[in-house]
């Protein structure tokens, strides 16, 4: 184990001390111990960064995710490419965030820190169970490298943002637990509301960054795929959203005390549950990007159980401290509408949780099954219809009614003429419009931004996922092809724009008015020996054009030379060759001569084998006979071989008449109004950020009014 591994042990020791000192009310010692934990956690983090920067392949984790060809930027972000490193990142962010908790009101600090420290303890235990500091006994010359999908700038910011959100949800959990423990259920919001908004904001940003990443790299098909890993972060976000609405009821209308406590608890429990789902390996066969089991399943189950039992236990023991909430009166009055939002959001979260848990639930009565995407779409739609209706009614002002009615009819009608025929989609479009227009009647900027953001997001998703058009085109080099009567595609070549850059396919596209060149990336991953294609997106407000190369076949020349390693598969024109291994021909072991045959499968067919041979005859003459390739009018010869590296060099000769042009299969997708998805997300983030600043300002103003110096607490604590 590397130095950092021992540092984690020391950090664990300090952490336990901090927890002990807090529980015996030795605040100062506890604080020093917490700071020591943070220092050791940081040292471990820095060391792992260092290992990545200097490419120290003696560290198992570095060897698994780093390689010599990675640039510094991606070496740094490879830190969190795997399970162990991402736990360390989570720990590091959580530790640093905890320091900011020192500024919490003295009255709350001890309990909050205790419940926060328990979470840090859990993370430390997981890190010890699967340490990123394990050393390899044999140092490989190069690492396995980063999955090509992760070689993307968004990868550098999406995971840290997620963990910022996760850690902040942990702070929220610490506050609600402290509130229950101290039997103070009415003032906990005032000290923690900024943390809750911050948690909701960062998790939201993290999710949407992940969505943009998926959209841009295509690996997971579109911006959202209802994959368990995506859902695992979406469920806590939905519960957090419900909580924020519930808190509004509690602060203004004095109700929902119990529900809010439960929502805060379960928001965090769903983060742990999501971590358990995606990191224990139980969904490994159901999700595109969940991790394999590295032997921490037992611990994850244990931690989940401890947090579930502990928090619900404390909640149940404190049932009598909850003030009796005011009844919620009126049918279309704000408190009722807020309560409806809470219920709808919770239902939405529960449905997603049920779908994601399907592989765990279904074995109870049958075969383990997964639910397909339509389940999520079908069940979310009625909830969103109701939510949008609630938004509209909430912001309703009589003087804007004509606008709302006119536009809510006009926009669906226009959409209908543009091809939106699905009645459910039309209803949603009408409601999104009414939500947007009715925001005119609202005065609070953050409220308008967030709710119109949601409406725009839903509007964008309807168009982008329901009405995208996709065609696949087979293109031969320099031969123009007409697509949908409007576009003309010409495939020119595959070339690298500069020696440092990855090769791109060069396509000329004419949309009837002008010609432009699109360059979807198309490169050969040396590590895995295969073609990797990244899309090229032409971004427009009304419609994105998405180009991706599915397949590329280089031109068939009269003579092609191919170097191929054992176990590899390569294409030469339309011939696919897989090199299975060498065969020593016994019949040739004669007269001091010998022959080695290369066993090759043609076109992926194990029955279709050819064995060109390389014979060394007794006089030192070399015999390299040509062999026919079945199914193709081509001949093949084993030119040279290197037994120690397992590499052979082949010469493939094609008759002059069958020389072929290079071919590319291109997928061309038009995604209408996806821009609204991003604009809607940005508006929500902006709205949330404004509300956060506003709350910050309000806290300072309150202190000024009470004649309290703003930094007073800090001074006191240094006494």
């Amino acid at each position: 184990m590397a130095f950092g591994g021992y540092v984690i042990w020391v950090a664990l020791l300090c952490e336990i001390l901090s927890l002990l000192y807090y529980s015996i009310n030795q605040k100062h010692l506890a604080r020093y111990c917490y700071l020591a934990t943070t220092v050791f956690g940081t040292v471990a983090t820095i060391q792992l960064f260092y290992f990545f920067i200097v490419k120290d392949f003696s560290v198992e984790y570095v060897a698994a995710y780093c390689s010599n060809d990675l640039s510094l930027f991606y070496r740094i972000s490879a830190f969190w490419a795997g399970q162990q490193g991402s736990f360390l990142l989570w720990l590091f962010i959580a530790l640093v965030m905890g320091i900011f908790l020192f500024r919490t009101d003295e009255k709350w600090q001890r309990e909050v820190m205790i419940f926060y420290n328990v979470q840090i303890l859990a993370l430390l235990i997981l890190l010890l169970k699967q340490s990123p500091f394990k050393l390899l006994s044999q140092i490989p010359p190069d690492g396995t490298g980063l999955n090509p999908l992760l070689v993307n700038p968004w990868m550098a910011i999406h995971p840290p943002m997620m963990f910022l959100g996760y850690a902040a949800y942990g702070v929220m959990f610490a506050f609600i637990m402290a509130a229950l423990w101290k039997k103070d259920i009415s003032t906990w919001i005032d000290v923690s509301i900024r943390w809750i908004v911050f948690a909701w904001l960062t998790l939201g940003i993290g999710i949407i960054l992940g969505g943009y990443w998926a959209y841009e790299t295509l690996g997971w098909g579109g911006y959202w795929g209802w994959d368990p890993v995506e859902n695992a972060s979406f469920i806590p976000w939905l519960f957090g959203t419900a909580l924020l609405h519930g808190l509004a009821i509690q602060r203004i209308y004095k109700g929902f005390y119990k529900s809010n406590a439960l929502l805060a608890i379960f928001s965090y429990l769903f983060i742990i549950y999501g971590t358990f789902l995606t990191r224990s390996g139980i969904l490994a066969d159901f999700s595109v990007h969940s991790f394999a089991d590295l032997g921490i399943t037992g611990w994850l189950v244990f931690i989940l159980f401890v947090f579930l039992a502990g928090s619900t236990g404390v909640f149940l023991s404190r049932l009598n401290i909850f003030p009796k909430g005011e009844p919620i009166r009126g049918l279309l009055r704000p408190p009722t509408l807020l309560a409806c939002s809470v219920i709808l959001l919770v239902l939405s979260g529960v449905v997603v949780a049920a779908g994601t848990s399907a592989p765990l639930i279904t074995p109870l009565w049958g075969k383990p099954s997964q639910v397909d995407i339509p389940f999520y779409v079908n069940t979310q739609i009625p909830l969103y219809i109701l939510l949008l209706a609630v938004f509209t009614i909430f912001a309703y002002r009589k003087k804007f009614l004509p606008f709302v009615i006119v536009l809510s009819i006009l926009v669906p009608v226009v959409s209908y003429t543009l091809g939106v025929k699905n009645p459910v989609h039309l209803i949603l479009i009408a409601l999104c419009t009414s939500t947007l227009v009715s925001q005119l009647g609202n005065k609070r900027a953050f409220f308008i931004l967030i709710h119109s953001g949601v409406a725009l997001f839903i509007l964008g998703s309807i168009y982008a996922t329901g009405y995208d058009k996709q065609v696949k085109i087979t293109l031969q080099q320099d031969v123009p092809v007409k697509v949908d009567d409007k576009y003309t595609f010409t495939f020119r070549s595959v070339a690298a724009p500069s020696p440092q850059e990855k090769p791109v396919a060069i396509l000329e596209v004419n949309d009837g008015k002008k010609t432009y060149v699109v360059k979807p990336k198309l490169w050969f991953n040396q590590k895995s020996n295969q073609l990797v294609a990244n899309p090229h997106i032409r971004i427009h407000f009304a419609m994105d054009e998405y180009y991706v190369v599915h397949e590329f076949r280089p031109a068939v020349q009269e003579n092609s030379v191919l170097a191929i390693r054992k176990g590899e598969t390569r294409d030469v024109g339309d011939i696919r060759l897989s090199f299975l291994g060498f065969k020593l021909d016994q019949s040739h072991v004669m007269k001091a001569g010998m022959a080695v045959k290369a066993v090759l499968a043609v076109d992926g067919d194990k029955e279709k084998l050819i064995m060109p041979e390389y014979g060394i005859l007794s006089q030192g003459n070399i015999n390299k006979p040509e062999v026919d390739i079945p199914g193709h009018a081509a001949k093949i010869r084993l030119e040279a071989l290197n037994a120690s590296t397992g590499t052979i060099h082949l010469n493939i000769r094609t008759p002059a008449g069958t020389v072929k042009k290079a071919t590319a299969v291109v997928e061309f997708t038009r995604v209408p109004l996806i821009s609204l998805v991003w604009i809607g997300s940005i508006l929500q983030i902006l709205g949330c950020a404004i509300s956060l600043m506003f709350r910050h300002k309000k806290v300072i103003e309150a202190k000024v009014q009470q004649n309290l110096p703003i930094r007073e607490r800090k001074k006191k604590s240094r006494r």
Partner: protein
């Protein structure tokens, strides 16, 4: 007040029934290749038979053969989408779709890459211990 509450509860119950019905409809069970051949929307898991994947340019379709885990059975799969990144080195492939009497038509492919599995050895051991 009571009316509102009962209305709310009735709506939630209705929604739950709606949810359960949708849940059952959208279930795609994991089945053996033999069961997959009897039809229905299912998912199958296996490993790629080395060298079996071909992309037929004229049909714009990826064909490959999967070998069943812990069994000798194989199944031919057709997939009209893009060849997934890291397809050739996948340690396991999940195909979601249905058998059309001739070939398994995959709607979706889930591909597990070894880079995320850096502890493949550990994993195998773990599986045996269990």
């Amino acid at each position: 007040m009571n009316k509102k509450l009962s209305l709310g509860i009735a709506l939630i119950v209705l929604f739950t029934i709606f949810g359960v019905l949708n849940f059952r409809k959208a279930l795609t069970p994991y089945v053996s290749y033999r069961e997959a051949r009897s039809g229905g929307s299912v998912q199958v898991i296996g490993t790629l038979v080395k060298g079996s994947s071909t992309y037929v340019v004229d049909e714009q379709t990826l064909y490959f053969t999967m070998k069943e885990r812990d069994a000798q059975d194989t199944i031919k799969v057709a997939y009209r989408g893009r060849r997934p990144v890291n397809f050739e080195e996948a340690t396991s492939i999940v195909a979601i779709g249905s058998y059309d009497g001739r070939i398994f038509q995959a709607r979706r492919l889930l591909v597990k890459c070894p880079s995320k599995y850096q502890g493949t050895e550990t994993q195998r051991e773990y599986g045996e211990v269990r």
